[in-house]
């Protein structure tokens, strides 16, 4: 019958406007294009992944995709129990023949964003607002700072976190307070990697008439003229292509990396920000991008830092 795809979303849920939304988008595009059967579920807690993945496998789904690194162990276990099924996971590396790991080189993007911010900043001070303090967000902040320093070694980079529990992803008022305090301290551009809390950062930008930078999806439209750019992480592409290949019978296991080179990571330019992002900056950014792709610039990676 139909080709059946099961999507196990992270705790953030389908409409987190971040990588869950993006993954769902991608799967939906594939559904429209290929006429597959698509079913998604949202996990309630970290222990729920395994039963949900298993339930999909038992119900004869052909491809099961886990969204988010938190599902790593669960995918590893369930994939071993159902070797004839196909699995995919976003943001984590699982070494099994029937699992495709879709990982993103966020640090490359964050480096580029840091460079763009440093080029645009007039005050010589830029900021970063992270959601929960976790390695992934550290990966962003570390590369962001390095990218900025590449442009302007004297630049001041201030990194703040909304919180240390998962509520940090859902606290726009606090994201806004953090951003306001950064803007008040003379910072004129803030990169927000904080889930829904990032919306608070954008609100602050709106009030203070300063710039902010979006993440994951293209968020330029949310505050036209104030979002300098967004760091794109094409989870949708990764999911859609995986579904497509799997349906066509070309599924392969192993690790698939998405970076600047294959446009899995990028920065966005559209009608909402082309006026505020000058040609010269875009040009310079594209140069840096090329250098990273060519390996001339080695971007520091928090994951590799021991």
């Amino acid at each position: 019958a139909d080709f059946k795809v099961g999507l196990v979303l992270d705790r953030g849920g389908k409409d987190d406007k971040s990588f869950n939304s993006s993954a769902y988008e991608g799967a939906n595009q594939a559904k429209k294009k290929l006429g597959i059967f698509l079913k998604y579920v949202e996990a309630t807690d970290d222990n729920a992944f395994e039963p949900l993945l298993r339930a999909f496998a038992q119900r004869d789904f052909d491809l099961i995709i886990g969204i988010g690194f938190a599902q790593k162990e669960a995918i590893k276990k369930v994939a071993a129990q159902f070797p004839q099924k196909h699995f995919a996971i976003i943001d984590a590396e699982v070494d099994a023949p029937n699992v495709r790991s879709l990982v993103f080189e966020e640090h490359e993007g964050a480096y580029l964003i840091g460079a763009i911010a440093a080029m645009t900043s007039k005050s010589g001070k830029i900021g970063f607002v992270g959601g929960m303090d976790i390695p992934l967000i550290r990966r962003f902040s570390m590369a962001y700072e390095a990218g900025a320093k590449k442009i302007n070694p004297q630049i001041n980079v201030l990194a703040n976190f909304v919180g240390v529990t998962s509520e940090a992803w859902n606290n726009p008022p606090k994201g806004k307070e953090l951003a306001v305090s950064q803007y008040d301290a003379g910072i004129d551009i803030i990169f927000a990697a904080a889930g829904a809390s990032g919306l608070g950062v954008f609100d602050a930008a709106e009030e203070k008439k300063k710039f902010a930078i979006g993440v994951d999806a293209n968020q330029n439209w949310t505050k036209p003229g104030l979002i300098l750019t967004s760091m794109l992480k094409r989870v949708d592409e990764a999911v859609a292509s995986t579904i497509e290949e799997s349906k066509a019978g070309h599924f392969t296991g192993g690790i698939k990396r998405f970076g600047l080179a294959n446009k899995g990571i990028d920065y966005s330019v559209d009608q909402y920000n082309e006026k505020i992002l000058p040609e010269s900056v875009r040009k310079r950014a594209d140069d840096i991008k090329a250098e990273i792709i060519a390996g001339k610039i080695v971007v520091p990676d928090f994951y590799k830092k021991k």
């Binding site: 849920g13 079913k39 579920v41 949202e42 309630t44 807690d45 970290d46 222990n47 729920a48 039963p51 949900l52 298993r54 339930a55 999909f56 690194f69 938190a70 790593k72 162990e73 276990k77 129990q81 943001d91 984590a92 929960m132 303090d133 976790i134 390695p135 992934l136 550290r138 240390v164 529990t165 998962s166 994951y303 021991k306």
Partner: protein, 341 residues
Amino acid sequence: MKRLLQPILAVALGLALGLAITWFAGENPWHVLKILGHGAFGSGYDFGMTLFYATPLIFTGLSVAIAFHAGLFNIGAEGQLTLGALAAAAVGALWPGIPWPLGPMLAGVTAICAGTLWGAIPGWLRARHGSHEVINTIMLNFVAAGLASYVTLYLLKNPDSQNPETRPIGTGYLIHQFEIFGGAPVSAALPLAILATILVWVLLWRTALGFEIRAVGQNESAARAAGIDTARIRIIALSLAGGLAGMVGIGEVLGNAGKFRMGFSPDYGFLGIAVALLGQNRPAGIVAAALLFGALHKGTADLDLETEHVTRELSLVLQALIILSVSAEGLWSWMKKRGQT
């Protein structure tokens, strides 16, 4: 008889209310009910997951109840269990070489001690400084989360994972997982929870200390007049409560994840309050209430998967309605009055 019938009827009523909502959302309630039952008890694995969720709730339920008997309100089980789990994982990660029976024992005791400490602090503050345990336990929950975050990111970071979690513990620390549940992580923590339940019952109703705890909770001045050192009893009760909550860490770290994961608990500590009060603060009642909550948690997760319209949000609504109607003491007499007229 009435004490048994009443909660059962109440669960039925809450379920009916919840099903009415799913019907409103466009599902066949009968179908939903079947999925719920099947999701919670349908197979060894499903039942295993129910038991897996129920186990920590037994610990936190007991924790809240024991404090409650001493007239204290422990909102801090969440923080206590966080520290308990963190401590167990720390021991297992720092000395991974310790062999089997010794490892779990050492880590288990450490988990209990960490929880106990986290309970003793508000107990001591209440007894000696008179500051309200409700505030202090809420505050300590946040502090525990901060400490856990620090430890997992700076001290015991797992280099192989992006998750905020600690390094894996040594294999000698892992406790037995029961195979009959088809892979569900039901570990030796379940019998431990049952044992803890029995011990709490013995403590509260068969020992002098338990009597003193209940006396302080009932009437502090009478207890004092009878010579009971009420300050000491309060500290002991909250310490015991903390220790019980800390035992959640044993199941999670030694019996399930093999490490400490930030945010592993879907609010076990808060649900423990509802579990304790639904179980009327009695050990057997707590086990029953924990099972109910475990079954609901597992059953409703399957609803999301099996139905078109029921999402995990609606599952929360359903659980809330069941808890509400089970707690409604007056519903019973109201129904009786209706029946008479």
